[in-house]
Amino acid sequence: MIRDTVRAFVTDQILPRIGDWFEQGFLPKELARNLGGLGLLGMHLSGYGCPGASAVAYGLACMELEAGDSGVRSFASVQGSLAMFAIHRWGSEEQKQQWLAPMAAGEKIGCFGLTEADFGSNPAGMRTSARRDGGDWILNGTKMWITNGGIADVAVIWAMTDEGIRGFCVPAQTKGFTANDIERKLSLRASITSELVLHDCRLPADAAFPEVHGLKGPLACLNEARYGIIWGSMGAARTCYETALDYAKTRVQFDRPIAAFQLTQQKLVDMLLELGKGTLLALHIGRMKDGGRAAPDHVSFGKLNNVREALQIAREARTILGANGVTLEYPVIRHMNNLESVLTYEGTSEIHTLILGQAITGKPAFT
């Protein structure tokens, strides 16, 4: 029923407009309230106005959202799995009380600032710093490629301190905090991506997440969002496959529907196989997660495989649509371009390969 609801929402509210949003590089802010009204923001968290759904239910919602557009799913991922999860997992009771319920309702928007221009795959080298000044914290630095940055009410910022990396809740109206949206993207256009500048941002002592030190703080959050991508990517792939199948049945060349050619059938069947396998993989990892048995390696396994295969499916679908495949009249090239970002963010495919490589050989090959 969760799948049906999200699918109906995407069909009614997203699909008729997404082509235009993508073209204009725009995501309407009221989408937050709509998704919040459905209960999809932070849906797998419990308490503080969050419904506490299962990992599988959360995955299904990601799948249906991304069957609409990866940008819409990214919005929900960043809000629920990065910003809200960070506060839920690492925040103080006051931070949870202040932010989680309005974020679940979509009244407040969050973003998650880890990446910097010079530190992407290697966030441990980050330059953004936080130093103590009496009872306060002073934050300085620049974060890059931050989804929802320009529309956020609160930013979860990871910064280097004397005690290692720590996380901070930075309200967007904090003096010295500015967000500059990144224009000219050709991928995830229906998603806001921004640079965040922190210039002598003074925050009270309790802005820092109390317990967590080091990279395990942000990595725990990334693991949640990556899990959603395992499902989401299959949603995008499903749309591409279905579009290609429909098109192939009706497009006539050499007096026959192109679906009647063996080469086309080969493509469609290959797409179907990977779509089926990837969806089963998502379901399997989801059930492991619900059983408390999913380790970060499993999530890397799923993210690496499913995004790679989704991109391959999108590209094959694109060829079946011929010239129509390169226009926004059909969803395929939009998904294809979006998936390029999905391949890179939340750990590039190379980084997930190295994580799995280390898991099976015991030898880290990152440096």
């Binding site: 029923m1 969760i2 049906d4 609801t5 109906a8 929402f9 009204g37 459905l38 209960g39 999809l40 849906m43 419904p51 506490g52 759904a53 239910a57 919602a61």
Partner: protein, 262 residues
Amino acid sequence: MKIVVTVKLVPDTNAVKRIDPATKRLVRTGVETVINPFDEYAIEAALALKEKLGGDTTVTIFTMAAESGKEVVRKALAMGADDAVMLSDAGLEGSDVWASAYAMAQALKKIGFDLIICGALAEDGNTGGLPNALSEYLGVPALTNARHIEISDAKVKAQRETDSGYQVVTGALPMLMTVTMAVGEPRYASLKGIMGAKRKTTAVMALSELGLEKAVGTGGAKTEVVEIAARPARGKARVEEAADGPAGAKIIFDFLKERKLL
């Protein structure tokens, strides 16, 4: 106030439907069952009233359907209804509008109600006759094709949609009402609603609980399907030629007006 919404479970609107030539009845197996789309508007109207009236207003879903439809009824609960009652009995098979209405009326008397809201039409049976028969058996007035419903002090005021506009109609509870799509788009079931629906009750009633005095099922049907035929093939399309844009627009305008679509 107790609002009961009658909801019919129908084969998926988009599915290809088949009539069994032997029984002359719609084949209901092998196709997904959904809430009759018009009834989703009835649910929306009831939930909107509940929100507006607050207090002890409750919304009960009532359906006459096989017990296998319980999962489908859950969607109505997920949208926000408080509970549901199903009248499920093999003895109902073959009931026509009158027999269905009679059985449903007895069940609704037992459930109790201040207001019954029905959809305007069932997508499969398509008679639109059931609500009126129901109001007759229940002895309550029927306010049909309502939109903009206001209720205070057990008095109802609504706009009754007609071909050319609307009438303002008033009446007193208890009553039965059918609603049009103008009552507002049915809400989505939220995640909280979906999860909460698992804890709501769907009671199942059998005919034996109703103490019926008339026959229902095939024996109680006043109508008999004598023959079924496929819809005649669509006639040739009308082709109009227009000299220019404005003339074309005029032709389209006249056509839509003639079909009462404008």
